[in-house]
Symmetry: C2
Subunit: 220 residues, 2 copies
């Protein structure tokens, strides 16, 4: 998903430094592509310290996904789009924000848990489940806004708020894959534009029930 | 992308067997996650035979992406959706077809080149470029149909056929990531439904110019 800042190995305890190193190295080289030695070197800790913190590399993978879920939740909870009063505006501003944070190196803005799950979904169910908790936990926060926007407009459709919230994450994850293939972040941005156009379409010609009443009363 | 059948190690020469083993193993375990030994064992060839065919594991990765591009191109060129006369119907039937072939194990229907590029985009530019050639080469075939559908309708929009063709691939790639995380192919199918709804939206209230003329004449 998003892009907390790069690691600051001079700060934090060994565990935090390893989790930050994992976040940055795995996004750049993949999970299998980085060794425990790579992680220790980037974090500036000994192998003994690594295995004091984590029973195995897989344990580090699970903890890295959990750390990602935690830090990105805090990041999105504090993001400016949350200030929008209307839930639909919040959803659209969320999409704008996702486009806005596509900046810098691919390894900085692409998603740790999307990358890990792509690779280890079959070989490490525990890492996969921790990645799923991060992706779908984040989707739930957007789902709440979509559901509120639909309810305010009395909308009943052949799609659900939950499926649309997951679709938003689908587009964002796929956008990262194509941007990596093309080595070009613009490829990700153009898909986010299509996504926003779709959500605007879905809510076009709808207004909150309250506004509908107000304008009906005005009409009398 | 799609799902040519599983390897048949009893058939083909050593090179083909290695490419088929790569296609199946890398989709299940990732590129870094499978060793040359794993690949040789699955293909039923010696390590000597491997290095007779490929200078390195990276060389195998590039060849596997090229083999994927070749076999999937043939697969889509022969697919039933191509029989639709109207280019828009062809695009919509393509989307239906992409949903239809989401079946069987995740490793069977997910995309070799999407998986590889996710992992090695930064560490192996040659594999990344071979993956990009496969993804964007396939997108070009759909772009031609989208462009023809737009032209027939005299449509000028703030999006291009090329960007929509890439967006289709974005959704498909992202759908695979979320399906892997959830360990549930339905998660991929529901995003394909959103994608189809979007394309229908984009072309709604448009008709081929020819039909527009015909109905105008009928009106006289």
């Amino acid at each position: 998903m998003p892009r907390p800042t790069k690691q600051s190995p001079e700060r934090g305890d060994a565990r935090t430094r390893l989790l930050e190193a994992a976040r940055d190295l795995i996004r750049a080289k993949g999970f299998a592509g980085c060794s425990v030695d790579d992680l220790c070197q980037a974090a500036g800790v000994t192998k003994g310290a690594f295995f004091h913190q984590f029973a195995s590399k897989e344990g580090l993978g699970v903890a890295a996904a959990e750390y990602w879920a935690e830090t990105t939740s805090a990041f999105f909870a504090a993001a400016p789009y949350q200030a929008n009063k209307d839930p639909l505006h919040r959803v659209l501003a969320y999409i704008d924000f996702r486009k806005e944070i596509i900046a810098g190196d691919l390894a900085e803005f692409t998603c740790l848990v999307g990358t890990m799950t792509q690779e280890v979904y079959a070989t490490s169910p525990t890492i996969r489940d921790a990645c799923a908790a991060s992706i779908f936990g984040h989707a739930k926060t957007v789902e709440a806004d979509i559901a509120a926007a639909m309810e305010a407009r009395g909308m009943e459709r052949d799609w659900t708020a939950a499926s649309l919230a997951r679709h938003l994450q689908t587009v964002i994850q796929g956008a990262f894959v194509l941007a990596k293939a093309a080595n070009d972040p613009d490829i990700a941005r153009e898909s986010i534009d299509h996504l926003k156009r779709y959500v605007v379409f879905l809510f076009s010609n709808t207004a909150p029930v309250e506004e509908q009443h107000t304008s009906a009363e005005r009409g009398q």
